[in-house]
Symmetry: C2
Subunit: 306 residues, 2 copies
Amino acid sequence: MSAIYDRVALIGLGLIASSMFWASKRRSLAGEVTGFARSAETRETARRIGLCDRVCESAAEAVEGADLVVLCVPVGAMASVAAEIGPFLKPGATVTDVGSVKRDVIENVCVHLPDNVHFIPGHPLAGTEHSGPDSGFAELFDNRWCLLVPVEGSDRDALAQLRAFWEGLGSNVEEMDADHHDLVLAVTSHAPHLIAYTMVGVADDLRRVTDSEVIKYSAAGFRDFTRIAASDPTMWRDVFLTNKDATLEILGRFTEELFALQRAIRTGDGDHLHDYFTRTRAIRRGIIEAGQDTDAPDFGRVKQPK
Amino acid sequence: MSAIYDRVALIGLGLIASSMFWASKRRSLAGEVTGFARSAETRETARRIGLCDRVCESAAEAVEGADLVVLCVPVGAMASVAAEIGPFLKPGATVTDVGSVKRDVIENVCVHLPDNVHFIPGHPLAGTEHSGPDSGFAELFDNRWCLLVPVEGSDRDALAQLRAFWEGLGSNVEEMDADHHDLVLAVTSHAPHLIAYTMVGVADDLRRVTDSEVIKYSAAGFRDFTRIAASDPTMWRDVFLTNKDATLEILGRFTEELFALQRAIRTGDGDHLHDYFTRTRAIRRGIIEAGQDTDAPDFGRVKQPK
């Protein structure tokens, strides 16, 4: 594949940026990739492992002459990064981001960008429980969705070019408006993460069951929650603070439903429970058929005999 | 390894029983294994795939002459199965079960067993989201815990023999008393399952987000919940109805904590969120160090580059 952008700048060098770099190298999607991270330690790691063609000492230096600038920092840090790079952006450049919340990013980033660049927010729905510059890998986006959220007046050519770039990284691309994005993600990602964090915190807190028991016997179900509850704390703090309304709405629905099931347990209404548990099985089948998970028992943690 | 029991009878032929059969064959732990399932279709499947040395047409026939009888039916069906087999048990035989709740099983099964058999309740903490006779495999119990819950007067020799059998199947065995078992499992298994079922049900219900969106974008976190929410509805209905008090207690703690996090989101208390999310990471590390999960990113769903 020939390069889609001559120069790409990655601002923030965590799991997503590092995976974008390796995925971009895999298919030579960019002529040169520069990178910047606020922490000297992260920049040092990046240089050591060959992450980015050139690791810069400032965000301004990294974006200079870049045709595509990708903001890969926590949502709460987007505005200050945008303010920092705004004056140094190349006219005609595309600026995008990978934040998990879109309305807040749009409101806080736009104001810092000059009129002569294209701002096209984005969000790759991919990740693992690991974070940092050495957690990335080229296959992270393969067959995962990337949502692009064009704002009013987004240039169609710039959008098409960004779409081609994400497709080259391995993603399936869809467009969505910002408010719908934030609601869909509240359901599929933000509320589940908060619930997982909560359950893990409760288990950790319980005096009559020791931590060591929780850990030893985690394979009985609890373990599945701990993966997403091990995600980056700063990233997730920012997600909840910036997608407050949609997240609280879904959590309200969740609590309502949980109370109904608790009442069914208390009153011994086995039919209600059985019906509910039967319905949820169908969703799992849908996810496997859609290629968004593996049907291997127990996520393939154990080997099968044949 | 030489046989630990001459004759073993498996009553109920789902995921656990079928895995016990294959694991027992792997190391020749039993001379002959008989099996029975209430459903003619399950018995037919068992015969077709060679599950059990002999599939019987009644529970009474299956337990005749057996040195070890394992009740592998949902918790709510244990009492009626015990009543059915009671008169046909061999004097001196050991009767055990694999139910996820222990106090209720002890109270309802003991009364149906003659005095001349040993009843030693058990619970292997292993499973997958699949169920039925063809879902079992020999490695299911490898490096997983099996909890034995001796009752008052349990014979030490019979207990040692059952322990050796479970160790032969691949498990690490511990003893625990029934009430503590039910509380530990409420934390590590029962509450997490109910919460996962609830979240999946809420997502399914939401009018403004279509099912297809929930499924397409599930890799953002929601997906991890759907595995355990695809577990067998009958088994889980029985678990909640029979471990009511401990489950409701943990769910009460969960709700309290969830409300505190919701309030932190509403009031914008980022420090509270960040501290909470940092603490939960440590539990994940503990689980991986204890060998109860894999550290592969995203459960190894994606291939790593090198």
